[in-house]
C-alpha cells in the first residue's frame, strides 16, 4: 500500500548569484493516515524547509528545488505536488494539507475575528454560505476545547491568550478535515502547561479525523508525547529514523544521543550538569566532508572524515547513518 504522503529524495538548495548551497540533500520520508511523524533537529537543519517544500511555500528565489518527488496519495490516486499546477496546489492547501505555525501571535490576521478567519477557509473550500460557515466555526472552536465558543467566535486575536490562539489556529487548520496536518513547532511559543493542553487537543482531533500529523519540533519531550515515528535531521540530511520509542530509548546516531543527553530531566541527581553537544552547527556554505556530524562527534574516526556513511539498520525498522553501527563496540 502506498503511503498517504511520500517524499522521495528531495533536494533543495539556496541560490545566491552563481553559487548554490544545498539545504536539503536527499530527504525521504513517508507518513500514513492517523500516524504522527516527528521531525527533530537543531535550528537550520532543514525541518521547516521540508514542511515548506510540501506546501510549495519555499521562498523562491533564493530557494530552488533540485529534484525529488512529493507524492500525495488520496483515494487511490497519486499526485506529485512538485509537478501539479499552481491552481491545483491551492485546492491542496487547506483542504488536503493544512499547516500551523510556531507563533500564534502572528499567525492570525489581527483585523478579523476568529470566526471570520475560520469561516473564510470554509467558504473558500467548501462553498459554505457565510452564516453556515460561522455556525461551523462555533462548533470547531468547541471541538478544540475553547469555552463559550459563541462569544469567542466574535473576538479578535489580540483578545485571546496564546494557548487560545493556537487552538483557534488548529480549528482553522482542521476546518476542512485535511488528510495531513503539518505542525511547525506548534508549542514552542507556549507555556509548558498550555503546551500539554494544545498537544492533547491536536491528538484528540487527530484521532477523531484520522489526520496524519507531521510534527516538526526540537523538543524531544514533545516527540516522546506525540510521535509514532521519528526522523532526526542534521544539516539537510536525515541521520536517523525509526519508531519513536525505540529511537528515544536506544538512539543509534551520536547526534541523536547528544540531543537526548542535553535534555534536563527531573530524576537527574542535583548538581549534575547537562551535556551539551560540542560546537555549533556548521553553515551550509561549509558543509564538512565525509560525515556531516564529524566536527562535533565525540566518537569521530578516520573514516568519518573521508566518507559519508549510508543509512544502515541499527534495529528492526530503525536506521541511522553512522559508521559505528555494526562495528564491534
Amino acid at each position: 500500500m502506498t503511503a498517504l504522503l511520500e517524499i522521495r529524495d528531495l533536494k533543495v538548495s539556496f541560490v545566491h548569484g552563481k553559487r548554490s548551497r544545498p539545504a536539503l540533500d536527499g530527504i525521504s520520508l513517508s507518513v500514513d493516515r492517523g500516524r504522527t511523524l516527528g521531525i527533530v533537529g537543531e535550528s537550520g537543519c532543514g525541518k521547516s524547509l521540508t514542511a515548506l517544500s510540501i506546501m510549495q511555500l519555499l521562498p523562491s528565489p533564493p530557494a530552488r528545488i533540485d529534484g525529488g518527488e512529493i507524492t500525495l496519495t488520496l483515494d487511490g490516486s497519486s499526485r506529485d505536488l512538485l509537478k501539479i499546477a499552481r491552481k491545483e496546489m491551492r485546492t491542496v492547501r487547506g483542504r488536503e494539507i493544512a499547516m500551523i505555525f510556531q507563533d500564534p501571535m502572528t499567525s492570525l490576521d489581527p483585523v478579523y475575528s476568529i470566526g471570520e478567519q475560520i469561516a473564510e477557509v470554509l467558504m473558500t473550500h467548501e462553498g459554505l454560505s457565510r452564516p453556515d460557515a460561522l455556525d461551523r466555526a462555533v462548533k470547531l472552536l468547541r471541538d478544540v476545547g475553547i469555552s463559550s465558543p459563541e462569544q469567542r467566535v466574535r473576538q479578535y486575536p489580540h483578545e485571546l491568550s496564546g494557548g487560545m490562539r493556537q487552538r483557534a489556529m488548529i480549528a482553522i487548520a482542521l476546518a476542512c478535515k485535511p488528510a495531513i496536518l503539518i505542525a511547525d513547532e506548534p508549542t514552542t511559543a507556549l507555556d509548558v502547561t498550555i503546551q500539554a493542553q494544545v498537544l492533547a487537543v491536536m491528538r484528540g482531533m487527530q484521532r477523531s479525523l484520522g489526520t496524519a500529523l507531521l510534527l516538526i519540533t526540537h523538543d524531544m519531550g514533545v516527540i516522546a508525547e506525540m510521535a509514532d515515528d521519528v526522523l532526526v535531521m542534521y544539516l539537510g540530511r536525515i541521520v536517523e529514523r525509526g519508531p519513536a520509542a525505540q529511537v528515544l530509548e536506544q538512539p543509534a546516531h551520536p547526534y541523536t544521543q547528544g540531543l537526548i543527553a542535553s535534555l534536563p530531566s527531573l530524576d537527574m541527581p542535583h548538581g549534575e550538569r547537562l551535556i551539551p553537544i560540542q560546537g555549533t552547527v556548521p553553515s551550509l556554505a561549509a558543509i564538512p566532508t565525509g560525515c556531516r556530524f564529524h566536527t562535533r562527534c565525540p566518537h569521530v574516526m578516520d573514516v568519518c572524515r573521508r566518507e559519508e556513511p549510508a543509512m544502515r539498520e541499527a534495529a528492526a525498522a530503525h536506521d541511522a547513518a553512522c559508521w559505528l553501527i555494526g562495528r564491534a563496540p
Binding site: L57, A98, V111, E120, T124, M169
Partner: protein
C-alpha cells in the same frame, strides 16, 4: 472605533472643526452665502469690509473685489473647488498608487523593480513642474487638475504601501493564509490592504491638505480652475494687483486656505498618532486591554 473617537485631543478637535466648517460651507453654499458669488455691483467695487471704521460697505462682511463681487460669498463658494479638487485628486492618486504599491510589494521581482524605479524617477521630478506642464498643455479645468494630481502624486502612496506590504508579507498570518488555500486576490485585498489601511489613511489626509495648497497655487498662476469658477487661488491672483489698496482681497482667501490645510494636517497628525503603537492613543488601539482596564 469608539475608543478612537474618545482619544480625540484638542488639536484633533480643532482639525475636525475646521474641516467641518469648510465642508458645511461647500455643501450649504447656495443657502448661506449672502450674495451670488458672480453678481457684480460696480457701484460698490473694491469696498472694504463692512466692519472697517471708515468706508466699510454695509452688507459686505469681507468687502468686495474689483467687479463689486462679495468676497465672503466667493470664499464660501471657493471651498467647493478646494474640497472637490482635493478629494477627487486624492482618491484618484490613492487608487493608482495603492494598487501599484500592493502589486510591487506582494509580487516582488521584476514587477517591483520596474514600479519602484518609476517611483524613483517621479520623485526626482519636482511635482510643481509636472503639474505646470500638464496644466499648460491641457488647459485649466477642474478635471485636468485632478488628472495632474493623479499622475504626479500616486508615488506618495506607492512608496508607503510598498514598504508596508514588504513588512507585512513576512508576517506569519500571510503564510498561514496561503497554507489554508486563500486566493491571491483575497490575500492582497482582504488581508494585506486592510492591515495597511491605517497608515495609508494618514497619507491620504496629509495629501488632502497638500492638494488644496497646490490647487490654490496653480489657480494663482492661472493654471488651476477657469476664472469664472470662484476659487481661493483665483481670488489671490485677482487680488494681487490691488494688494496695496485692498488688503482684504488677498488676506481672507489666504486665511481660508491656511485654516483648511491646517485642519487636514491636524487630523492627519492625530491619525498618525492613533496608528502608532509607541503613543498612548496608538497603544490603546493596538491593545484594547489597556483602555478597558483604566
Amino acid at each position: 472605533m469608539l475608543r478612537m473617537l474618545a482619544s480625540i485631543d484638542t488639536k484633533a478637535a480643532v482639525g475636525f472643526g475646521l474641516v467641518a466648517i469648510v465642508a458645511l460651507c461647500a455643501i450649504l453654499a447656495p443657502w448661506i452665502s449672502p450674495y451670488d458669488p458672480n453678481a457684480q455691483d460696480l457701484l460698490n467695487s473694491v469696498a472694504p469690509p463692512a466692519w472697517v471704521s471708515h468706508g466699510g460697505a454695509a452688507g459686505h462682511l469681507l468687502g468686495t473685489d474689483r467687479l463689486g463681487q462679495d468676497v465672503l460669498s466667493r470664499i464660501i463658494y471657493g471651498s467647493r473647488v478646494s474640497l472637490v479638487a482635493a478629494f477627487a485628486a486624492v482618491i484618484a492618486s490613492g487608487a493608482i498608487g495603492i494598487l501599484l504599491g500592493l502589486v510591487a510589494g506582494y509580487f516582488g521581482g521584476w514587477v517591483a523593480t520596474s514600479i519602484m524605479r518609476l517611483v524613483d524617477i517621479m520623485l526626482a521630478i519636482p511635482f510643481i513642474l509636472i503639474a505646470l506642464v500638464f496644466m499648460t498643455v491641457s488647459g485649466p479645468s477642474l478635471t485636468n487638475l485632478v488628472i495632474a494630481f493623479a499622475i504626479a502624486r500616486w508615488v506618495q502612496f506607492t512608496r508607503i504601501a510598498y514598504g508596508l506590504v514588504l513588512e507585512l508579507r513576512e508576517r506569519e498570518f500571510i503564510s498561514a493564509c496561503i497554507t489554508f488555500g486563500v486566493s491571491k486576490f483575497d490575500i492582497l485585498f482582504r488581508h494585506i490592504l486592510i492591515n495597511i489601511a491605517g497608515p495609508l489613511l494618514v497619507v491620504a489626509t496629509l495629501e488632502l491638505g497638500f492638494v488644496i495648497l497646490i490647487e490654490a497655487g496653480l489657480s494663482f498662476l492661472g493654471l488651476g480652475t477657469p476664472p469664472e469658477i470662484p476659487s481661493w487661488g483665483g481670488m489671490l491672483q485677482e487680488g494681487r494687483a490691488l494688494i496695496n489698496v485692498a488688503w482684504w482681497l488677498t488676506t481672507f482667501p489666504g486665511i481660508a486656505i491656511m485654516l483648511t490645510v491646517v485642519g487636514f494636517n491636524f487630523i492627519g497628525d492625530w491619525l498618525r498618532d492613533s496608528f502608532d503603537p509607541r503613543t498612548d492613543i496608538g497603544r490603546s488601539l493596538a491593545d484594547p486591554m489597556v483602555g478597558s482596564e483604566r
